[in-house]
């Protein structure tokens, strides 16, 4: 049996949990998340407010400490690094923030902001810092004229470029992009998205792209993980997720997105009621309170199952509700695998 293409996993998250204690109880912000992100890919994390996606991003970057679970980077467990290891990791894993208006120090110029990471580490020797700063500013498209400006003198798009430049200054392998274009106007959004994609191609970066905007995530991601109230409900390749969403929440989410295509206006799939509280939640699927297909077994703790290769869903009823889609997907997968076998055999025949 020919195995699949070998995965080059850069970041692996294993049963990650982050709980906060508040006056009213314990907030289960991130509850048992497991995923793998391969080198060079973009993993989109989507969900609505309160789903925990931002918290997840910050925990991976070590801006917060997870309550339990593991983070594995390049095969090494980096969940609780010591000071030296943390310093090294800062050079490998970086973050771009959502709000270009509050993620830059108002008292530092563009140049100072980008040079700061260089000063803090010793990636380049002192004599070369100036030149390196200029190179990064060119890379992200910051006009020469504004390099001595302060953040409040720049517009949102430019500020976000500075944020991107700062993240790149340490030459990281992995960048968490926390809603990097949500605060920008549509035309500026497109500029920044294009920039991020170009940089990924040029620098071989791996992204975790967090957003609530389904259209954006579809555009930029290879794989998507859907989160709801701290739980991971579905993970799949982007195209496949959009073509046949399996989890009821994913299905509702996709149907709610307005599209500009006049010929494909669709009816939204209704969810009942409002979002439930993340404080001391009851066991079982958190979406059960609003799910149109809820049954008794939904209140049992759910497991993340690999329905198809690399396609994970956390829903006890998925096999019965989506028989047809799963069947179709299975067949597609078989055909794909057949093609891969044939290609591999060709390779063997040609003496490779």
């Amino acid at each position: 049996m020919i195995s699949e293409k070998k995965r080059d996993t850069l970041v692996e998250i294993d049963h990650l949990k982050k709980y906060f204690d508040v006056a009213a109880g314990t907030v289960h912000a991130v509850d048992d998340i497991t995923m793998k992100i391969d080198r060079g890919e973009t993993m989109g994390i989507v969900g609505e407010s309160g789903c925990g996606k931002s918290t997840l991003g910050r925990n991976i970057i070590h801006l917060q400490n997870p309550t339990s679970g593991n983070i594995i980077f390049e095969g090494k467990d980096v969940t609780r690094p010591d000071a030296k290891e943390l310093k090294r990791l800062r050079g490998e894993m970086q973050i771009i923030f959502q709000d270009p208006y509050s993620s830059l120090n108002p008292r530092m110029t563009v140049e100072e902001t980008i040079m700061e990471p260089l000063i803090l580490t010793n990636r380049v020797p002192k004599e070369k810092m100036d030149a390196e700063t200029k190179r990064i500013m060119d890379l992200v498209g910051i006009a020469r004229r504004v390099r001595q400006s302060y953040p409040h003198e720049l517009d949102g798009g430019r500020r976000q470029r500075v944020g991107i430049g700062r993240a790149l200054a340490l030459d990281p392998k992995f960048i968490v992009c926390d809603e990097p274009v949500s605060a920008l106007d549509v035309s500026i959004q497109a500029q920044i998205l294009n920039l991020l994609m170009d940089l990924q191609d040029e620098q071989g970066l791996t992204y975790m792209f967090i957003t609530h905007d389904m259209s954006v995530v579809r555009h930029i991601s290879n794989n998507i993980s859907v989160m709801y109230l701290g739980q991971l409900v579905e993970t799949n390749e982007t195209k496949k997720l959009f073509n046949y969403p399996l989890h009821p929440y994913t299905e509702s989410l996709l149907s709610a997105i307005p599209t500009i295509d006049l010929d494909h206006q669709h009816e939204r799939i209704k969810m009942k009621g409002e979002i439930t509280s993340p404080i001391d939640p009851k066991p079982g699927c958190r979406f059960a309170a609003r799910c149109p297909y809820v049954k008794e077994e939904c209140h049992q703790p759910q497991k993340l199952e690999e329905i198809l290769p690399r396609h994970f869903v956390s829903c006890c009823r998925v096999r019965e509700l989506r028989k047809e889609q799963i069947g179709r997907a299975m067949r597609e997968f078989e055909i794909e695998r057949g093609k891969n076998h044939a290609k591999a055999r060709e390779g063997v025949d040609n003496g490779q």
Binding site: K87, Q94, F97, D99, N105, P106, G141, S149, D155, D198
Partner: protein, 294 residues
Amino acid sequence: MKNTKELKTTEYDKKENRFKTIVKRLFNNKLAIVAAVVILAIIVIAILAPYITPYKYDLMDIASKNQGPSLKHFFGTDDLGRDIFSRIMYGGRYSLTIAIIAVLAAILVGIVIGSVSGFFGGMIDNIFMRIMDVFQAIPDLILTIAISAALGSGFDKTVMALAISRIPNFSRILRANVLTVRTQEYVEAAEAIGCSKFRRITKYVLPNAWTPLIVAGTMQIASVMLSLAALSYIGLGIQQPLPEWGSMLSAARGYIRDYPYQLIFPGCAIALCVLCLNLLGDGLRDALDPKLKD
């Protein structure tokens, strides 16, 4: 064609000099400017006092004692025949100087306490703030008197007493701002690129948290002047023959019915300074107000 190179744009981001904007705004406030000029004048007069006063401040002329305002003595003389006008001019050296030094010292200590307390939170914050609570539970003046009485009178001891009594105020103000700024994303971003706690405090938090202290400081100078006057009035603080305005008030209090001018002039000097400092403080606060940042 990659759009990552320099943009062909129609931007209008003029290089706006932030400092100039603030100064411009300040200049639009006529009252604040007048107040600033008056303060400046008082300071200049105080500095030049030895050269420009008609008489030396401690020159006694018993024959001319207790005379009302006249052409020879603009503000009259006190009960030892000293020229009040000259003493008022000299007085700025003590009243204003002590007040400014005390406030500066209090701000410095307040910054350290406030930033450490606000940034680290937890037990450290608790301890510091409870100590501050104790100090602030006692009315300002009584506290100042108590510390001053404990330390004794004289220039530096008085400065210390006044400074200590103001530290809780400044540390609270700074701590409040630090608490707000600390949660800003750019401080998180600094941590993400490997910034040490110390550098985060000094380069990211403090520069964005300290501006309210400018205004608070200006206002406190006025308050400290009043406290100093009170201290001298009751026999602590600065004593005769030094012409501190408060002690001048004290010396003349027995004569309030017979020679009221001996109280009016030092009283007005204090009042004028306090008024101008408050107006200047208001003007600075308006000029620095970020809401006006369009």
